[in-house]
């Protein structure tokens, strides 16, 4: 298990006891599973399921759906990351995909595009993914684990071809354009405590000048469809260009700044029948997970 810092986040430097190591000239395609830490200096494609920590080193590339206890990314990951404990994106990380973990740390300099959910990984989704990767459709995922285990033992040879045929489809993800590599980490960044948010200090501005969008949108179910975001701990971090109404975060009205709340009520009072949210031009996007990836500037 990875060495933990005082925050219970895995440290990127923990290395002494790590056994499994994917070298920089090595490429692994397919399903990778296990119960010990893995350090990836090379390339891994497909699906990773670990009971321990996955370290993606600066030169490492992971094009995979990742399920692990901890994930520490210093390199490149294209794919969704699900961690039971923590996800850490260090300053050199480049990630395209959604993060789901109770603890998420994004260090300054990390390039990230996707959604963040701080719910623990969805066990049902993990089981569905596991059974799907064994060559079964989602309809089979409801089967009892014992039954499914028995079936997979019996049909394992027949499914080998299916599994291999799936691999090229996954690797098409590699054609997406990643966020830009930062020219350098924020070495000049001051270490003093961050200042309070500016809007909290300013006098209340006229309501019309404030963006109505964040409070006006109704929450929509997060995909996969079984996932219901909890109100208090869901944060969606997305560049404006890839926002879609599908993964708009739910906002607690109690947390609204008073000027935003005032503007909302005034808009609702004025626009009889015409909802204020329709005024906002929103970029059209494709379904979640299939969106076209562009540069983040």
């Amino acid at each position: 298990m990875a060495q933990k810092t005082k925050n219970n986040l895995p440290s990127p430097d923990a290395s002494a006891e790590v056994v499994t190591h994917i070298g920089s000239g090595t490429r692994v395609v397919g399903r990778l599973s296990g119960q010990e830490d893995i350090r990836v200096h090379g390339t891994v494609e497909g699906v990773v399921r670990l009971g321990a920590a996955l370290f993606v080193e600066p030169e490492g590339v992971v094009l995979a759906e990742v399920w692990a206890h901890d994930v520490v990314v210093s390199g490149t990951v294209v794919g969704n990351i699900h961690a039971e404990n923590a996800v850490v994106l260090t300053a050199t990380a480049r990630v395209v995909g959604d993060l789901r973990s109770p603890r998420i740390s994004l260090e300054p300099g990390a390039a990230f595009r996707g959604a963040i959910s701080m719910d623990p990984p969805d066990v049902e989704a993990l089981e569905a993914e596991a059974s799907a990767s064994r060559g079964y459709g989602a309809s089979r995922s409801a089967a009892a684990p014992t039954v499914r285990g028995a079936i997979s033992e019996r049909q394992a040879p027949a499914n080998g071809e299916t599994r291999r045929a799936q691999a090229p489809a996954r690797t098409q993800q590699s054609s997406v354009r990643l966020p830009p590599r930062r020219a350098q980490a924020f070495t000049a960044a001051p270490t003093r405590a961050p200042e309070p948010r500016v809007w909290a200090r300013e006098p209340v501005r006229p309501a019309q000048r404030l963006p109505a969008a964040p409070v006006a949108f109704q929450p929509a179910p997060f995909q996969p469809s079984s996932f219901q975001p909890a109100e208090d701990d869901t944060i969606i971090v997305q560049h404006a260009a890839i926002r879609s109404s599908d993964d708009r975060p739910r906002r607690r009205t109690g947390a609204l700044p008073s000027d935003l709340a005032a503007e909302r009520t005034s808009d609702l009072a004025v626009g009889a029948g015409d909802e204020p949210r329709k005024k906002l031009a929103r970029p059209k996007t494709l379904a979640r997970g299939k969106h076209k990836v562009e540069r983040v500037d």
């Binding site: 056994v19 499994t20 190591h21 994917i22 070298g23 920089s24 000239g25 090595t26 490429r27 692994v28 395609v29 397919g30 399903r31 990778l32 599973s33 296990g34 119960q35 010990e36 893995i38 200096h41 090379g42 497909g46 080998g160 599994r163 291999r164 691999a167």
Partner: protein, 104 residues
């Protein structure tokens, strides 16, 4: 650092390819194609078609082995499959079932 190690609890179902030295303590199913040497350690299980320059087996291999230089089956190793290599060593105590092709 140019080496790859698959730990004992790791299972890989797919393909491993590359130019690094590869050491397998765990399980690999599918296919292995490495340009450098491959070592299957004691406790390692490879159910795969294996291609490498030098292949050393201390564990178990179920599948065909093709080495461009040398294949070595150490004592306590178990291999089921065909071996193709210009030089082949089978140690006393190794278990082997299959054909041998030394490229005569």
């Amino acid at each position: 650092m140019a080496s790859t190690v698959i730990g004992s609890s790791i299972v890989i179902d797919g393909e491993i390819s590359g130019e690094d030295h590869l050491v397998v303590h765990g399980t690999v199913k599918g296919r292995i194609n490495v340009r450098d040497s491959l070592v299957v350690e004691n406790g390692g299980l490879v159910e795969a078609t294996v291609e490498s320059s030098t292949i050393t087996v201390n564990g178990t291999v179920n599948g065909d082995i093709s080495a461009s230089e040398r294949a070595e089956l150490r004592p306590n190793s178990t291999v089921i499959g065909d071996i193709r290599a210009p030089r082949i060593l089978i140690a006393d105590g190794a278990s082997f079932k299959g054909n041998v092709d030394m490229g005569g």
